[in-house]
């Protein structure tokens, strides 16, 4: 039945993606909900929440607020909070409740702009789409607001942050900065992915690598025009890099740097302690033995992984599939945009020798007898652990 899930819990929703992009930017982020969504987003989908404080709020909507459309009350609550909390901007992140009552975000933005001088970002997520859609919307809404308010290239120099100071120092020494979009903790198979991307890009000649939505500061967004290149490492970042190309002419690429070393690192991390060198090398080369591979992961990551595997075996028949955004321009023939659980069950029955994906998928395919490499996909399993 369409929409019925028997094996997997629902995937990370768009509202979680939006918050993931905005989390570290020092804004007042208001999740327009009754509380449950805020709890879900932070308590489950936001791994930074237990370690890093951020001004994330629930609007605390109650039934009569929703039924009566008490936008003025919401604006008052936000204005009160803005009066008590120093922030770089205000963001409203939508949930199913405003979607049902047809909240007019443009009107809310207008009302808020009269009550506060802060930039206002609205993201019309609805909890019914997936996290990458929310990330894409949040990037776009923030960049558009910065442009509209003429805030690009106007980051304050007196930022007290040590982190920012280090970043500024790096920037002074180099105009050779790469901006990464679509690599929030929800996108990456683990935070180790951030290290690998950074290492690879530095080897490629970039001095500074900034992850927008995963370590970048508000001032980094303001200074984004200085980047030499922007790279979308997942579909959620593609719209942002294109927008920045439109704004500043910054060139962009769509790829996940580092998948070459991933294959090797995963193998060594997992088997290094139990296998001797020759066995390990044999394992690393074992991809040569497989003819038909299915990669179930975020499209750009999976595409880059496919390219890396083809470097080992140019003839490998590799299919990429994902429940998340599959951009047509980056799909090969045979790639599959999954919709239902049964889509994967049917696909997995297609005679693959190797399936690469989050191990939680294994329970959907008890009949599958081939190899399975676990590369966690947090947005599916919610498990924060990485490794094969």
């Amino acid at each position: 039945m369409k929409g019925l899930r028997r094996f997997l819990t629902p995937f990370a929703p768009d509202q979680s993606g939006a918050v993931s992009v905005l989390y570290e930017l020092g804004g007042i982020v208001v999740i327009v909900d009754a509380g449950g969504c805020a709890g879900n987003i932070c308590g489950f989908d936001e791994p930074r929440w237990s370690e890093t404080r951020s001004a994330i709020f629930s609007a605390g909507l109650r039934d009569m607020d929703a039924i009566m459309g008490r936008d003025k009350l919401l604006v008052k609550k936000i204005a009160d909070a803005a009066g008590k909390i120093q922030a770089n901007f205000v963001a409203l992140v939508g949930t199913p409740v405003p979607a049902v009552i047809g909240t007019d975000y443009k009107a809310l933005k207008k009302m808020l702009s009269k009550e506060t001088s802060l930039p206002v970002v609205t993201v019309d997520t609805d909890g019914m789409h997936l996290f990458d859609s929310g990330e894409e919307k949040a990037y776009a809404a923030l960049l558009r607001e910065l442009k509209e308010k003429n805030l690009f290239d106007k980051a304050q120099d007196d930022n007290p942050s040590q982190q920012a100071a280090v970043r500024d120092e790096e920037k002074k020494s180099s105009a050779n900065c790469a901006g990464i979009f679509g690599a929030t903790p929800l996108d990456l198979y683990s935070q180790d992915g951030k290290r690998i991307i950074s290492d690879v890009l530095k080897k490629e000649g970039f001095d500074t690598v900034i992850f927008y939505g995963n370590g970048a500061l508000f001032s980094d967004f303001q200074n984004v025009s200085k980047n030499k290149i922007n790279i979308a490492v997942s579909p959620s970042g593609v719209k942002a890099v294109k927008l920045l190309n439109e704004y500043f002419g910054t060139p962009y690429e769509v790829r996940f740097p580092g998948t070459d070393v991933l294959i090797d690192e995963f193998s060594r991390k997992t088997y290094g302690s139990i296998l001797k060198d020759e066995q390990l090398n044999a394992h690393c080369n074992s991809l040569k033995d497989v003819q038909k591979i299915l990669i179930v992961h975020s499209q750009i990551f999976a595409n880059s992984l496919r390219a890396s595997i083809r470097k080992i075996d140019a003839k490998a028949d590799i299919t990429v599939a994902s429940w998340f955004e599959m951009l047509d321009e980056y799909m090969e023939d045979g790639d599959v945009h999954l919709k239902e659980e049964d889509d994967l069950i049917d696909l997995a029955a297609g005679g693959f020798d190797l399936i690469i994906g989050d191990e939680i998928l294994k329970k959907m395919m008890p009949e599958y007898k081939g190899k399975f490499f676990n590369i966690p996909e947090f947005s599916i399993s919610g498990k924060k652990r990485a490794g094969i």
């Binding site: 629902p10 404080r53 039934d63 929703a66 399993s381």
Partner: protein, 478 residues
């Protein structure tokens, strides 16, 4: 923790706002400041508020509670976001493979077509389960609250189609502060399953929790003194038939206010009366409540030494409140004797009323530095007592926006400070003071009565004792 505050966001110059017990008492229950009224401000979302914003993430929320009936499964009919964190619950033993989801999209919301799919979906999951479930709970969320969905009717259709009981439960965060919050409704829904049957004078139900009261609680002894032979709790029923027998009870003991509405329903529908008890930690209050309950049940307390010559197989154990009270007081006094200078920070994510607990601690000579909880008008009895005994105790709302500025562990005890021995009670309080000793006291299994009091003070003692070297170093422990 402070080092990890986002340094770019300039959010550091202010302070969290709160009121002292004296200030609150002077304002009175009619003038509770807006800081404590969640409808008056945005709700700050920190790990300390997780239990409020997402009750299912810790302890029992609607999802876990809805599966209290043995052998049941749940179909969550909602936008994907509402079911997202359920995988955390599925990692708890006994909850694996019991959740299913029917995701709603925008078109469903406009047309309501998802409602037509529910009976088929229920049938499909019943067929999918290896063992036929005893019950399917259909959990719906805020969107259906706004759409005014008649889920009772849909559940009846699903029941007809699947051939097993189907009941709705409502995870309506929108109504959490309304007349019937979700955790009240879920209890009503579950106990509505109890069939009318012949009542038995020797059967009693304990209503209120979804995990059992500690077996060691003297509450059970007291009930047995009154001739009760069978004491049922939903969490101890291993099979659906055992759960159905809760309908034979002579009376219900309601130990959590969230079960009042369900108890009222049972009185109206099955004629089972109820008696309400509160959870206290003060031995005097516990004793008074037990004596009142004993009188209501016609129990004569055993006099001191009276039981000494009775055969062990008397069959009817005699209740003695003095023994339990003495043990509880012994635990309190032992803690006080060995660790006289403890200062407590108390949260609301705890198996206690934090205000009652604070008064208990202060009355026994401990210091309560602060309470993280919203003061309900009903709690002013305790707040007034605190104002008299410990006027400077601060009361903060976890949810107030300026709690963003609560200076986590900035108040490390300095040399010469007389209260170096600091303990947090409640998981939320631990968030604010990671360096203190923590007694979360929020287990699923529920403490009650003298036994609960004794267990709590023993747990505090144990926590302090395990940090003994550190405390001796600081010159706190005698």
């Amino acid at each position: 923790m402070d080092e990890s505050v986002n340094n770019d966001n300039k959010i550091r110059n202010n302070a969290a706002s709160g009121f002292s017990a004296l200030e609150l008492s002077q304002k009175g229950s009619e003038n509770i400041p807006d800081e404590y009224i969640t409808s008056k401000h945005l709700i700050y979302n920190s790990p300390a508020t997780l239990a409020f914003n997402s009750p299912g993430a810790e302890g029992f929320g609607v999802k876990r509670a809805g599966l209290a009936v043995p052998g049941s499964v749940m179909l969550i009919v909602s936008p994907g976001c509402c079911g997202r964190n359920t995988s955390d619950i599925t990692r708890i033993k006994g909850y694996e493979d019991r959740f299913f989801y029917l995701e709603i999209d925008n078109t469903d919301l406009v047309t309501g077509r998802h409602l037509k799919k529910i009976p088929d979906a229920v049938k499909e999951i019943v067929d999918f389960c290896g063992k036929k479930p005893s019950l399917v709970m259909i959990c719906i969320t805020c969107v259906d609250a706004l759409l005014g969905t008649d889920m009772e009717r849909v559940a009846a259709k699903a029941e007809e189609k699947a051939g097993i009981p189907v009941r709705p439960c409502y995870m309506y965060a929108l109504t959490r502060e309304g007349r019937k919050p979700p955790m009240v409704q879920v209890r009503q829904s579950l106990y509505s399953l109890l069939p009318k049957q012949k009542r038995r004078g020797t059967s009693v139900n304990i209503l209120g929790f979804f995990a059992p009261v500690f077996e060691s609680s003297e509450l059970f002894l007291l009930l047995k003194s009154a001739g009760v032979k069978t004491i049922r709790q939903i969490s101890t029923c291993e099979k659906i038939d055992e759960f159905y027998k809760m309908g034979e009870a002579n009376f219900n003991l309601v130990v959590n206010r969230e079960a009042e509405a369900a108890a009222d329903d049972l009185q109206k529908r099955l004629g089972i009366p109820s008696i309400e008890l509160q959870r206290f930690y003060d031995p005097d209050r516990i004793e008074k409540q037990y004596r009142a309950l004993g009188r209501a049940l016609g129990i004569t307390e055993q006099e001191e030494g009276e039981n000494d010559n009775l055969p062990e197989n008397l069959g009817r154990i005699l209740w003695n409140s003095r023994l339990g009270k003495k043990e509880a007081l012994d635990s309190i006094n032992k803690l006080k004797k060995d660790f006289p200078k403890i200062s407590f920070s108390i949260g609301e994510v705890i198996n206690a009323n934090p205000f009652e607990l604070a008064v208990t601690l202060v009355e026994h000579g401990f210091v309560v530095k602060e309470i993280f909880a919203n003061p309900d008008p009903d709690y002013f009895y305790y707040i007034d007592k605190l104002a008299a005994l410990s006027p400077g105790t601060m009361i903060y709302s976890n949810m107030e926006p300026t709690m963003l500025y609560y200076d986590i562990d900035s108040d490390e005890a300095s040399e010469g400070d007389m209260y170096k021995c600091r303990v947090t009670l409640g998981k939320d309080a631990a968030f604010y003071h990671p360096s203190y000793l923590h007694v979360n006291w929020n287990s699923d299994e529920q403490p009650f009565g003298f036994d609960g009091c004794r267990k709590l003070f023993d747990a505090i003692y144990q926590a302090l004792n395990s940090g003994r070297e550190n405390l001796i170093f600081k010159g706190v422990r005698r």
